[in-house]
Symmetry: C2
């Protein structure tokens, strides 16, 4: 029996933070990672466009042999989860519901602030998911944080100033006492240090990478391969990108926390 | 004889600053503007991807009846001018050569700093064009300026701080005395006030929108329609965007400096 193959998809590099969490929890699987780098970012685009791109990416990973699909992109999950699930024959896990669950578990006063891209906020996917868990939720779009991460200004005074501007607006009007900050974008875990300094002191930071990996691990426990106690091999990784493979290797290693050896360039149009 | 139809192309909204300059100089023409908003930005992508997108956009405008093509995008001009010209049967004008000409005319000590996107800088198209005009040129990538414009932080302390960081790095090592700052991205004219404050006092700002429009106007003088002295009508404008038409109307008006009535959504894949 072949080891299970998990397809992980993001508009670019951010989803590698989810892959990193998956590798820690489920080291014995095969992984296909697809970064739609020629069309990133999704966070400023319309629901129709994001859904179209996300379904193409999902179909690609399915054709490559994925047994399960992880949408490691908040925008794609928020705007297109239903379309992706409808277009796919394999189980699909997104990052919104696991993130909302983790925030609900972390919050003691049931008041959560979510920061995310413009498109994710406009979809109100997090607000709905958090309210379903009994939380009060305030969403705040932070369009500059992704470009700041991609410029490499990870622990930079400008990034801290920008984070303060966004968070001061978020933790106000009934949300001064919110005790949980949910990072609703896979780029944001890289800004953890800055966000911790910019957020009110009493606030707990929660990101969806680890909680998404836990949901996938739970589903994998019942997979015949793991259930049968097959001896596991080290994770096998394969990377695909729609823009330059070289650039993906260079920037991706930063997010994954380990070198990326080989990337295959793909053109979804062909 | 129909009035000439000028196709203007950009990855998004920035090219509308060029269209604005064209409308001032050549009010009697028809204009087709194409913004590839579903795949923007180009500035962080590879030459292959940018060339593919730009050629698709050029072909689209040609099919819609453009008699001339203006590549109102520095990245597309810098990375793909030759590919676009080879794929197109109509005259093509880019923004790099007119920008370089304007900077060469403005500089008294033949020392020019160019700020642009990462992809434009990596292509060294401006450096080559400026050196051909006898200039010394220093290029500086400013990846955060486009997101700051798109966040609407046009005259904002953070934007000024970011501009200072980039410009301090640029006006150094033999370029302290450079007397001209060339804005090598069509978003940057919106930041003119901030850039003027952040640049050394003795520096002249030059952008390629006005100089590109002058090159097009020059070519139009010999067009039979204008040469024959036809009575001109007010400019007729038609807009196409690959992402949401609504969003294009809303954001585009800011760049064009006038309301945008109607935008047609197009999908280049079909």
């Amino acid at each position: 029996m072949p080891s299970p193959c998990i397809g992980v998809f993001d508009s670019g590099f951010g989803g590698l933070t989810v892959l990193k969490a998956l590798l820690e929890l489920i080291p014995g699987a095969d992984y296909l990672y697809f970064g739609d780098t020629a069309r990133l970012p999704y966070g400023s685009k319309s629901a129709e466009t994001v859904a179209k791109y996300a379904v193409e990416a999902s179909n690609f990973l399915q054709r490559q042999g994925a047994h399960m699909l992880v949408i490691a992109c908040n925008t794609a999950t928020a705007l297109a989860f239903d379309e992706i699930e409808a277009a796919t024959r394999i189980p699909v896990v997104g990052v919104v519901e696991p993130g909302a669950q983790a925030a609900a578990a972390a919050s003691e006063n049931e008041s959560v602030v979510v920061i995310a891209t413009e498109a994710t906020v406009n979809s109100h996917a997090y607000q709905k998911a958090l309210e379903a868990h009994g939380m009060d939720a305030r969403e705040m779009a932070c369009p500059l944080l992704v470009p700041l991460v991609e410029e490499g200004w990870i622990d930079h005074p400008v990034t801290e100033q920008v984070a303060r501007i966004y968070l001061e607006k978020a933790f106000t009007d009934g949300f001064q006492a919110a005790d949980t900050l949910l990072l609703g974008c896979t780029h944001y875990p890289l800004l953890e240090a800055v966000l911790r300094r910019a957020a009110p002191e009493h606030v707990t930071l929660v990101d969806s990478a680890a909680s998404t990996a836990r949901v996938v691990a739970q589903q994998m426990q019942t997979h015949p391969y793991f259930a049968a106690g097959h001896p596991t091999h080290p994770a096998r990784l394969k990377f695909y990108a729609t823009d330059s493979a070289e650039k993906f290797k260079r920037l991706g290693a930063h997010f994954l926390g380990q070198p990326i050896e080989q990337v295959e360039h793909v053109d979804l149009k062909e």
